[in-house]
């Protein structure tokens, strides 16, 4: 694969996402969200003490984890299908480039657009909050890093859905479905298993780890606070059993596995796909 071609294709993907206003919408959303999260945390800290800041941030991290997949799954899902339908993708593939260059160039571009959006969003929020002082830099950075890691996972998952679905409408429907599964259904499933009392905390933790949202949440929570109770009973059990460094490595590995599995499967499908 030629680096020059990868760069060209990814730069074009960023331009397309900027033109489509996705980057702007994403950046504004992340800014509002990040400011709201930090302001609420600070309000809690003023009223009840500094310890509440971490707890509030951890609780509001859930909001970020809802929002990031909602924006990034459709970003990945619409990119490949939209361009396949308007003829741009076949036209690109017909040029003297390989399918691998087209796929990874576009994927890198999508990840860059997502990163740019988060960088602007959280950067603007940091600038706003920095002037007010009192914000926990560590908690804020952990939240931003968690959002980015999750963005990488869900963007590549969106790309996989796009290549597998082969039509924009189907891909977007699959993206919404994936969001519902990751955000709600997985938690309901874990709750149902817990209620049935057939599984111990170790098994429950293993199952919930398979959900990248849960993995990101636990990883961010580990970074945000030294206090174990914000991780919930299963998280506390995991920290006690594995220790913080091992647990963090396991969670990072889960997110990396999701990214590699999604992008690898998508590439294998794309390499064999008929572009008509």
């Amino acid at each position: 694969m030629r680096v020059r071609i990868l760069y060209m294709l990814s730069a074009r993907e960023v331009r397309v996402s900027v033109r489509s206003r996705w980057t702007l919408v994403g950046a504004v959303s992340f800014t509002v969200l990040a400011v709201a999260v930090a302001q609420l945390g600070m309000a809690g800290a003023e009223r009840w003490g500094v310890a509440t800041l971490d707890r509030t941030s951890a609780a509001l991290l859930n909001l970020v984890l809802l929002f990031v997949p909602l924006l990034t799954l459709p970003l990945g899902a619409s990119s490949f299908c939209g361009e396949a339908e308007d003829g741009t993708l076949p036209y690109l593939v017909a040029q003297p480039v390989t399918r691998g260059e087209v796929f990874f160039g576009k994927l890198m571009g999508l990840l860059s657009a997502m990163s740019l959006s988060l960088l602007i969003g959280f950067g603007a929020a940091a600038a706003v909050l920095g002037t007010q002082g009192g914000v926990s830099v560590g908690a804020f950075a952990a939240m931003a890093a968690g959002a980015w890691l999750l963005g990488v996972v869900t963007t590549t998952l969106g790309v996989f859905l796009a290549v597998a679905a082969r039509s924009r409408a189907r891909a977007l429907a699959a993206a919404v479905g994936a969001w519902l599964v990751l955000v709600f259904l997985c938690d309901f499933g874990v709750l149902a298993l817990a209620a049935s009392q057939t599984l111990g905390p170790g098994a429950l933790f293993g199952i919930s780890l398979a959900n990248p949202l849960q993995a990101t949440k636990t990883l961010s929570a580990l970074a945000i606070s030294e206090r174990l109770e914000i991780l919930g009973p299963v998280g506390v059990h995991a920290v006690r059993e594995l220790g913080r460094p091992t647990l963090a490595a396991l969670l990072c590995g889960t997110l990396a596995a999701w990214t590699l599995l999604s992008s690898g499967s998508a590439f294998l499908l794309f390499r064999r796909e008929n572009l008509t």
Binding site: R12, G87, Y91, L92, A94, Q95, P96
Partner: protein, 234 residues
Amino acid sequence: MIRIRGLTVTLGGRSVLQNLDLDLRKGESSALVGPNGAGKTTVLRCLVGLLRYEGSISVDGIDIRRDPIGAKRLLGYMPQVPAFCEETARGALTFVARLRGVSLHEVPEWLEVVGLSDHAHRRVDAFSMGMKQRLSLAAALLGSPPVLVLDEPTASLDLRGQRQLVQLLGELAEDGRTLLLSSHRSEEIAALASRIVVLDEGRVVASGPVEEVSASIWGPQDARGPRGLEEEIA
């Protein structure tokens, strides 16, 4: 220049091309004709690497599967529906030029050839279909590839647009380029091609010089050549 052997394509469980052989000599202009669904566009899409196929395709001795970059470097492709990767005419050509590793000095030159110099900075989505087709042709010509692959180049144009594009393509064909086009229009074929390959249900059913084959397909009245087209437009 182009050698196709045993080309077989199955799409959605349907056999679209069956064991098709085709040879195109250097500098030769051939037209693929046939009813809708005969497999004309499928042949062209295989040639530029868009479809999976059985058999072999080589361009100037380069197998398209083994060396897709080397083979596609020799091809200029103009799809039936023009597609552009950037917003403006100049931007679209600049992007393709960079992708093909072609000097950017060629961009204004080809815009001039297709008569779009005055529209270089305009948005492509505001172009008429005729302008889009000419811009698509300019993109196919970047780097002066020896083979032009044209998928129904005038299908969506009005008569004036057809005449302009056919005239332009005729001039380019005279430069010794190898031309492979798919078309339904007898006038276009007569003006541009020296040889016809007739496809039906994914097989070659006839091939030969335009005068011989077109008379058998459309009858002597429609095998008129460029003069016939000009008369019709007038």
